[in-house]
Symmetry: C2
Subunit: 210 residues, 2 copies
DNA sequence: GAGCAAACGGAACACCGTTCCGTTTGACGA
DNA sequence: TCGTCAAACGGAACGGTGTTCCGTTTGCTC
């Protein structure tokens, strides 16, 4: 949330606030490098919207009017590019957790709302949920980033709900997030499948039966 | 369930009972063709156990000591090979449905048990659940086969449970199966994730709150 | 303006599923 | 027994990935 408030292509953030944080090139000395970084983020965001996160790297390079070498220098792996594109929204999701907990009527309600936010984010990004799979080739970094950022938040919400006695405390946040993520796979591209509904059912199943 | 009761490699069925049913080559006039069909099924089953269903076709051809052309003549696509390898177990799962319903204490219990069977099957086959994804490239036939065979069974169980009033009847069998399948993705290869547990939660969430 | 590290572009590589086609082989009738 | 020929075979080749590599260009800095 620094600068670079470009209108940007289509739907999502895709801006590069270059606040570093994950160890990438960040701010370069050279103007063309900085410009290309931004261009790539915008191009990637646009391509992700139309072709999904699994879109060929060449498509993104072409959209950005840039060579393949350039894209790989800025983002050593596709996962790094995805992370950079969606960082803002993931950040917002993480920050919403404590806010919901403070504002919500009960911890379980806050948990449900937060998970709803998470699901909304996942299902609107074509193929993102599938890419989150820990073992999906080349996306380990994406998996790790989501966990690093969102797992503590989910743990807090889950802990609060368990402490209030609303919830069967036997499930850890990792499994819950993994399950929710899995349920979102393929939610786009299949009108017969409503991931939100199934996630609701899962969260409902979390309640203490007594 | 005809003949060819070979011991077969390692774990699962992998036998070719050549009862047709899906329109494949079935029984050839030539001995070598029949032998290769069986050899391929065994080799594929063995490779699937060690490398998962996404194993390269070349690996299977090598294991079988056969050319690439041969494998593609017997099984036009990788999905057809997977279907052939697991057909017996899918069949058994389908047949277990009505049996459980007849024997079980309540329809909801039968549904739970049947889904347990389904989950056990999925999580023991590396990557099968992920391949079931409708849009996973090249596996549409696999998706369709599972649906054709198991959806009616699930519909029956779900309908019975809804009729008995144990269950919120708002969810159709397709969504339930899709959700369960999704929850099983990556269940192997991640000891921190217990798909069975989450599926139980999902099924529990299905119960009427009142 | 000269020099040089940094950034660039895209050919090349390794791997994938799949197709294609020249070669081999097994069944069957003479 | 042997000739015939459709059927089956093997694997090179194709189109498509992600990623690496390196010769060339470019923007800073002095």
């Amino acid at each position: 949330m620094f600068r670079f408030g470009k209108p940007d292509s289509g739907e999502c953030g895709a801006v590069n606030d270059s606040d570093e944080g994950a160890g990438r090139a960040g701010q370069s000395k050279r103007k063309d490098a900085r410009r290309n970084n931004e261009t790539l983020l915008d191009a990637a965001a646009a391509v992700f919207v139309t072709s999904g996160v699994e879109a060929p790297v060449r498509d993104i390079a072409a959209k950005a009017g840039v060579g393949l070498g350039t894209i790989y220098r800025h983002f050593p792996t596709r996962a790094d590019l995805v992370i950079a594109v969606y960082r803002h929204q993931i950040e917002a999701c993480a920050e919403a957790g404590p806010a919901l907990l403070a504002a919500g009527p009960t911890p379980h309600a806050a948990l449900g709302q937060w998970i709803g936010l998470f699901v909304d984010f996942l299902v609107t990004k074509h193929g993102l949920a599938a890419a989150l799979q820990a073992d999906s080739a080349g996306f380990e970094a994406l998996h790790a980033y989501f966990l690093d950022r969102l797992l503590p938040v989910c743990t807090e919400l889950l802990g609060a709900a368990a402490a209030s006695g609303e919830i069967d405390s036997g499930l850890d946040a990792y499994q819950l997030m993994r399950g929710v993520g899995n349920l979102c796979i393929g939610a786009d591209a299949d009108p017969r499948y409503d991931a939100r509904r199934l996630v609701e059912l899962l969260v409902a199943g979390l309640r203490q039966p007594r």
